[in-house]
């Protein structure tokens, strides 16, 4: 589904990603772990097409197409979804209206009829239950005045509504208490099928108790130093990130 | 209309009474002559002038003043030294009616290279730093008072803190204005220069001892080099019949930080124009203020926060309490120039109107020419919160007590930011006295 080859990227002249290789297939869950500032969010944002980051080398192939030249909205309509580490507040724009617009854009792309507000309301109620979110938050402005936890749930709600093929979840677990973490994780699990894939960016091992990754990659200083199965996360928890850098050659390749 | 030809203009009349200060340095003499030329023939601004809309100088123009130096033996009380704050025990300059008093001043224990001295002496010695900065910052369009001070000033304060030096204790500039029969005018001048990475706290204190009429027209210039830090506290406790018209300009360089706390309590008419220019990146300025008026006092603050470069922040909290027939005016301008991207500017003006006969005027002003900025201002005019009054009453306090407490609380957040404990104490007493005397509070109860 997604193949990243030798990806280098910079922002304001600083190289942040220094040769990333990654292959994600349908049905897989990949966890990207690493210390703060290692480039995890950068990787997710680049896949989603954030304009601040410049790809200087390498390629990102998604479903056989090169993503790099595509506008972010085009990528989104093709099924790339990103749950933001810091969801953005948009005053004056209602949450439910945004989701309906976004959903209908995808319907249009597929040649299907858009849903009117009433139909959409029926559609969204189920999804609300999935993340146990209060319906009131639908009428509020996007993320404005939401608590940290509400913002993160709202991201997963949007994921549930838009049904992406590739979900990039950037630290969706950070800042959540145990109950919220469980709810969000279960939501993500329910959305996970053999046809779609998840790239789960996280700083902590905790969420992996709920979501079992097929692969774990350790990103340090813009490079993937080590890749492995779910047991790698446990080792990381035990030994810390230094253990990875001390034990691998720079340029460790991921499968 | 008055016949200008026949009646000499107020400023001309005043200028005439002053002899040239007699600075031997050509540069200073020229600066003074130029300033005198600028105001010669100039009328005082009227309320038709936008910047003077709410501040009439009519009564001032009718007063007759003599230069303060002319008063041969001012009535200085024996305990004048009592006005020195304990924190400033070792370094303070004192001025009686604007004239430097060596006897009351003390500049002990200053770190190597620090200068705290009478400006007139420093200029006479030809101090390069003083000559370089003097007159460079105190400039206002159309304003007669900054040039008035420049034209005739003689004594004042000069403070210089060299590179990487920290003056730990506050430096106090004490201006004692005595109770005299003659109406006098004084124009003290302050020049404060902080070199790279320097740190200092300066307390400027204007005290009127009587309830006489005089005109106090001070000008302060502040120049902060890179990475320096300065805290500036100004207390204006001039006589309740005095005119206090002051100008303050601060020029702030890269990575520097200037914090000003101005408290205006005295004067019949107080007008202060304050300007902070953030000349380079990563600078910060605070211009906080507290104003309390009562009787027929008028207090007018005009401020300019000028953001010229990116990534700077500014903070302004200006609070006014209005009682009796008092009037408070706040005109706060924030400029964000085209290059000043990522500016974060905050301004809040709150007015507490205790009496039904006072007036509050607020004109906060944003002028933004850069797009990636976050600027906000808020202004409110109102009364004590009814719920808060009620809450305290249910706890058994009398209504006038609750009002006193809440008024005190209103003033408190400006006072609390002031880093000199004995000034905070002094101010707390002033606020207490003010609320205690407040007729409005008593009437309401």
């Amino acid at each position: 589904m997604l193949t990243i080859k030798n990806l280098h990227a910079e922002v304001e002249g600083n190289e942040i990603l220094k040769g990333i290789n990654l292959e994600i297939k349908a049905g897989e869950v990949h966890a990207i772990m690493g210390p703060n500032g290692s480039g995890k969010s950068t990787l997710a944002k680049i896949i989603a097409g954030h304009p601040s980051y410049e790809v200087t080398q390498g390629e990102i192939i998604y479903e056989g197409e090169d993503l790099i030249e595509m506008e972010p909205d085009e990528r989104a309509r093709k099924g790339v979804f990103m749950a933001f580490q810091y969801p953005v507040e948009i005053p004056g724009v209602s949450n439910s209206m945004l989701m309906r617009e976004a959903y209908n854009e995808i319907q249009k792309e597929k040649g299907l009829d858009p849903l009117d507000p009433l139909e959409f309301e029926d559609y969204i109620i189920d999804k609300l239950n999935l993340v146990e979110m209060d319906q009131k938050l639908l009428d509020r402005n996007v993320n404005v005045g939401f608590s940290g936890g509400e913002k993160k749930r709202n991201e997963i709600l949007q994921m549930a509504v838009l049904k992406p093929k590739l979900a990039l979840l950037d630290e969706t677990d950070s800042g959540l208490d145990i109950d919220a973490l469980r709810i969000v994780s279960e939501g993500i699990n329910k959305l996970n099928t053999k046809d779609n894939a998840v790239m789960l960016v996280t700083h902590y091992q905790r969420i992996l108790n709920y979501i079992t990754p097929d692969f774990v990659h350790v990103l340090v200083n813009g490079r993937i130093h080590k890749s492995g199965g779910k047991e790698l996360a446990l080792e990381l928890e035990k030994h810390g990130y230094e253990w990875v850098t001390a034990n691998t050659e720079v340029n460790g390749e991921a499968k | 209309m008055t016949d200008i030809a026949k009646e000499t203009l107020f400023l001309d009349r005043l200028l005439d009474r002053f002899e040239a200060a007699g600075f031997v340095n050509g540069k200073v003499a020229e600066l003074q002559r130029e300033a005198a030329r600028e105001i010669t023939g100039k009328e005082l601004p009227t309320t038709r002038h936008e910047e003077w809309k709410y501040c009439s100088l009519k009564s001032l123009s009718k007063e007759n003043f003599v230069p303060a130096q002319n008063i041969a033996s001012p009535k200085v009380p024996a305990d004048a030294a009592g006005y020195i704050y304990p924190e400033a025990e070792h370094h303070h300059l004192a001025f009686i009616n604007g004239v430097y008093s060596e006897k009351l001043s003390k500049t002990d224990r200053l770190p190597e290279g620090v200068i705290v001295a009478n400006l007139a002496d420093v200029l006479a010695e030809g101090n390069e730093v003083a000559l370089k900065h003097l007159g460079k910052y105190a400039k206002w369009e159309d304003d007669p008072f900054a040039p008035f001070n420049t034209a005739i000033f003689r004594d004042g304060a000069f403070i210089y803190v060299p590179k990487a030096v920290k003056v730990a204790d506050p430096i106090q500039l004490l201006f004692i204005n005595t109770d005299e029969r003659e109406q006098y005018v004084m124009t003290p001048r302050c020049l404060i220069v902080g070199d790279r990475s320097s740190e200092m706290t300066v307390v400027e204190d204007h005290i009127g001892l009587g309830s006489n009429v005089y005109l106090n027209c001070p000008v302060s210039e502040i120049a902060l080099a890179e990475n320096s830090h300065m805290t500036h506290v100004k207390l204006q406790r001039d006589s309740k019949k005095a005119y206090h018209i002051s100008r303050l300009a601060a020029d702030i360089s890269r990575d520097s930080d200037y914090k000003s706390y101005a408290v205006q309590l005295g004067a019949h008419l107080s007008r202060s124009d304050v300007k902070a220019v953030l000349t380079d990146e990563n600078t910060h300025a605070t211009l906080d203020g507290l104003v309390m008026v009562n009787g027929d006092q008028l207090s007018d603050t005009h401020s300019v926060m000028d953001h010229t470069m990116p990534n700077c922040t500014s903070h302004q909290l200006h609070k006014c309490i209005i009682d009796g027939h008092g009037t408070s005016v706040f005109n706060g301008k924030i400029f964000v120039r085209q290059d000043a991207q990522k500016t974060d500017a905050f301004q809040e003006n709150r007015n507490l109107q205790l009496s039904n006969t006072g007036m509050a005027y607020a004109k906060p002003q944003l002028e933004i020419f850069a797009d990636d900025v976050s600027c906000s201002h808020g202004a409110t005019i109102g009364q004590l919160d009814k719920d808060e009054v009620f809450y305290l009453q249910t706890r058994g306090l009398r209504e006038n007590q609750t009002r006193e407490i809440l008024t005190y609380g209103f003033a408190l957040d400006v006072i609390e930011s002031i880093p000199v404990p004995s000034i905070r104490e002094r101010l707390s007493k002033e606020v207490e006295a003010y609320t205690h005397e407040s007729k409005s509070i008593q009437e309401l109860a």
Partner: protein, 480 residues
């Protein structure tokens, strides 16, 4: 392409209403003097009181100067070069559309304001003013049944002289300001509305202004009187052709609300604003003021200002009656070299009066957008309240946003609260919306409409849709 560039290219969109209609005019000498004022009075067959009003205003005007305090810059206007009166030659008989020049009817059709019986906008009565003259008013009979008078001001002067005499100049005196004095001397037409006691107007009333003549100024005058317990909602729209010269528009609007009456006045102003380089466009100097004369009365201004090279406009409310309410909701968009200095005055005189100001300014291109507002609580206006919010949004770094609020309060039972913020359309906001599949244009317009939402919700439905579209036109376009 950076986001800023993209947003800027989004805000460029050609002016749709820039065509000129070919009609013949009764030409008039240029400049302003007593003879001209008398000639206008002659043509209008003014009664004596009207002629005197004009002459008094003219004489006062000669002693006044252009106001210079606003934050706008324009070359001094040479009033000798302006034609102070202009009317299409074919004189319409006011009660029959057949008599209106077909070219003019077509013009209004093109503008989306059909005047012919079959096509009239349902639920909205329209008074169409072409250059300086009212050419048609629709739904007159239906309104007459309810007792509502809706006609041109010229007709009102003839048919309701007492009302006109009593109220004209009572809110905006002839000597109020330079442009009001000028208008009082030369106004040629405009709309008149009278809602009798207890009547709720059965439909929205609307005037559609069109400047067509390149050399004439437009000086219309509107007077709306709402008697006790009545209600009326009035809409105003404006467009003009594109000329490389500037046209002067100096209107006066007076509203009077008696006890418990309510007047809602909405404007969508889309005069030609000049081109990218600042050539051409309307100079819009307008005095709009409402008087809440009666207790419990309410006047509400809503404006969407998207056009004019220069806008100088402060719709105000004087709250004289106790418990009266004044409101001002505004969206002002400036682009290219436009300059807008607009806002309101809320004057609290009565007790327990209440005012609200919501102002949203959007500046793009090289434009300057200023909010200027006065809130004045007089010592007698006990227990009064004002709440103001003035938000600005900048698009690009060559424009300016300015906020000049004046707050004055003179008693200790009232409160004034003012807040202002400045922000930009953040790159992160756009990216977030794009990540959800919206294209950049939609993302920008969504954010802008969100920014203006509180104002749009005050517009009558029919107008809200148009206003949102208009803003879209002004601020969207092809991503280039």
């Amino acid at each position: 392409m950076s986001d800023t560039q993209t947003i800027e290219s989004l805000v460029k969109q050609p002016y749709k209403y820039g065509f000129k209609t070919n009609v013949e005019y009764d030409y008039f000498p240029k400049g302003l003097n007593e003879d001209i004022v008398n000639m206008i009075s002659d043509i209008k067959e003014d009664p004596d009181f009207m002629r005197e009003f004009r002459l008094k205003a003219y004489r006062h005007w000669t002693t006044m100067r252009d106001p210079l305090w606003a934050n706008i810059k324009y070359p001094r206007i040479n009033y000798d070069k302006i034609q102070f009166y202009s009317a299409p030659k074919k004189k319409p008989r006011l009660d029959s559309l057949d008599e209106v020049d077909p070219e003019i009817l077509e013009t209004y059709e093109k503008l989306g304001i059909p005047l012919s019986e079959q096509k009239m906008l349902a639920g909205v009565a329209v008074d169409a003013v072409f250059d300086s003259v009212s050419v048609a008013t629709t739904f007159k009979e239906k309104l007459a049944e309810a007792g509502v008078v809706f006609c041109s001001i010229s007709e009102a002067i003839k048919n309701y002289p007492d009302l006109v005499k009593k109220y004209m100049g009572s809110v905006v005196p002839y000597n109020d300001n330079f442009f009001a004095a000028m208008n009082s001397a030369v106004f040629s037409d405009g709309s008149f509305v009278y809602v009798p006691k207890g009547v709720v107007s059965p439909m929205e009333l609307s005037t559609y202004f069109r400047i067509n003549n390149e050399e004439s100024g437009q000086f219309e005058r509107t007077l709306i009187i709402a008697e006790e317990d009545s209600y009326v909602s009035y809409l105003e729209g404006c467009t003009a052709p594109m000329f490389s010269s500037n046209q002067l528009h100096a209107a006066v609007v007076e509203l009077i609300a008696l006890d418990r009456a309510q007047i809602k006045y909405s404007t969508v102003q889309n005069w030609y604003s000049g081109d990218e380089k600042g050539v051409g466009g309307i100079y819009n100097f307008v005095t709009k003021r409402g008087l809440c004369k009666g207790d419990y009365s309410k006047i509400s201004w809503t404006q969407v200002e998207t056009g004019s090279a220069i806008t100088w406009k402060y719709p105000s409310v004087i709250m004289k009656g106790d418990h009266s309410i004044g409101e001002f909701y505004s969206v002002a968009v400036t682009n290219d070299k436009m300059e807008a200095d607009t806002g309101t005055k809320m004057i609290h005189l009565g007790k327990n009066t209440n005012s609200t100001i919501i102002s949203k300014g959007i500046a793009a291109g090289n434009s300057q957008n200023s909010y200027r507002g006065l809130v004045k609580i007089s010592p007698k206006a006990a227990n009064s309240r004002n709440y103001s919010v003035c938000d600005s949004m900048l698009i690009g770094d060559r424009c300016g946003a300015h906020t000049f609020p004046y707050l004055e309060a003179g008693n200790n039972t009232s409160s004034v609260e003012h807040e202002a913020t400045t922000s930009k359309i953040g790159e992160d906001q756009i990216f977030y919306l794009q990540q959800r599949g919206l294209d950049e244009e939609d993302a920008v317009s969504l954010i802008i409409n969100g920014f203006c939402k509180e104002v749009f919700k005050e517009l009558p439905m029919e107008f809200a849709v148009e206003a949102i579209k208009l803003l879209g036109i002004k601020l969207e376009g092809s991503v280039g």
